[in-house]
Symmetry: C2
Subunit: 306 residues, 2 copies
């Protein structure tokens, strides 16, 4: 096999309840990467990037390039790799654009070289790429992009999959404004009230338990956000109006995806998910903000060969 | 039926990872309550308390009395109730003495009056009693005392049972010193660093998930305590030495039970559990502190009629 095509999902990190420790893979949008072997051992080249003109074609400055290089080296660099990337998960959208690139790249390299690595074994290499974008090795986007479903990342040890509760529909609302991750970290409090810390932990644990009981209603009910969301909401365009419109249209829970600007909204029917997309889009259009929406659900599979 | 005998378990609240939101029922020690109908409708009387001479025999000032009265009233008070209480869960031990009394009392009244209420339905009445002792309606001892097993209490909504991981043995070490709950609350920080709050939540959620996967080793590994235990440890006699001795003897996790002074230690064999009890007892004896130990496990059943 000299060429593979890979798909990698967008992801929602945090999901309100699990800052830096929780993420979910989406069925759409997804990123497609075509990877080919070349005869320059150890070299990684980005042939083209479609849909994101600002991203570097220099493999050492590109998330997919760095991730691919890391795994290629670990597998003995018997050949070179050339990548062609279709960026359907837009950079800066807050739904794991760089994680999708990193996950897709390592799955592609593993497939081309018959590495046979499991998603969790691919994680360190994908994190090498992701850390180029985020400056840190947070796995809350990359782990679900590789493993699919909902993934919980403890402070130490391997990420673990949570069962995906039945009946969840997800609406992503992406107002096309730029929020730097560094800026969205800066607004976070350095300390939080003890009661908030305690209650947030109880909601996160109750969410994990609700997923395991396959109780989608209880899981959505647990998606409280006591100190992260309130700090970041002012950075998100029209957040209070979007939240109100989403709730009015049937959203049972929701909040900021990762560090934004995208927001995510949970509903229990496709019709409600569509209604939320429509309502949120209307609010942002009225404010003059170009907005993408995605009506989707949680993907059980992570990045994989097509 | 004019008389019932009820057993109610001691409980470990917090379990390090879930302050105010987690508790586990123990197979031992347990409290026994004998309850009889009397012909004075609506009256609750404490006939005798064995093993705790300082507790009030005035039903209105006794946890079991208040809990029994609350449920008796709700069931229409067709008769009176007389209670005889064997306090094998010592007051002030930090393993849910008042919760055992409250849980035992409502189970007894429900049985005598054929109320047919489920453990979760009995909870509000037991909390009426427990709040006499603790001054608040925290369910992290009472809920497991009624429901058995490990119980997670979200900030709102009903407590939920977590599957009890196989293979856990529990050693309780009770140095007989008095720590007032109010004092142990006073040493808690009012704010905690964001990173501690975030990581503690991740450990709590990972613990819930590990219980659901029946992974006892992972569940024990998750029992981190980032801000509560370190604040309270100075109140516990010889805590660093007890912890070191317990670890040396085979404890894989452990910490302060509720607000202390008891500590709990998790091992994976009966022999290790015994060794931990022996080692901890030796440390405290050397320091001249009278100490009880209990080598036990998590009880699947909560308070029930014998």
């Amino acid at each position: 096999m000299n060429e593979v095509r890979v798909w990698a999902p967008a992801t929602v990190a945090n999901l309100n309840v699990g800052f830096d420790g929780l993420g979910a893979a989406l069925a759409a949008p997804g990123e497609r990467i075509t990877a080919r072997k070349t005869d320059v051992p150890g070299s990684v080249r980005i042939r083209a990037i479609h849909g994101a003109p600002d991203l570097s074609l220099d493999a050492e400055r590109n998330v997919a390039g760095v991730a691919a290089q890391s795994l290629l080296n670990a597998l003995g660099a018997p050949c070179g790799i050339e990548l062609e990337i279709h960026k359907d998960v837009l950079p800066g959208s807050g739904i794991g654009s760089s994680a999708a690139s990193a996950a897709g790249a390592v799955v592609a390299v593993d497939a081309l070289l018959n590495g046979g690595l499991r998603p969790d074994e691919l994680l360190p290499f994908a994190l090498d790429g992701e850390s180029l974008a985020s400056g840190s090795r947070h796995a809350d986007n990359v782990a679900p992009a590789l493993m699919g479903g909902i993934v919980l990342c403890p402070p130490e040890g391997a990420p673990v999959s949570l069962p995906v509760p039945e009946g969840w529909h997800v609406t992503i609302v992406h107002p096309q404004v730029e929020i730097r991750t560094s800026e969205s970290r800066k607004v976070l409090p350095q300390h939080v009230p003890l009661q908030h810390a305690v209650d947030q932990a109880r909601w996160f644990a109750a969410f994990a338990a609700a997923c395991h009981r396959n109780d989608g209603v209880a899981a959505a009910y647990c998606l409280e956000d006591l100190y992260i969301g309130p700090s970041r909401a002012p950075l998100i365009p029209c957040y209070p109006s979007v939240a109100a419109a989403a709730a009015q249209a049937g959203a049972r829970a929701g909040g900021i995806s990762g560090s934004g600007p995208s927001t995510f909204w949970i509903t229990f029917s496709e019709a409600d998910a569509q209604a939320v997309a429509h309502a949120a889009h209307a609010v942002l259009s009225e404010a003059g903000i170009p907005t993408n929406t995605h009506v989707t659900h949680i993907a059980s599979r992570g990045a994989h060969v097509l």
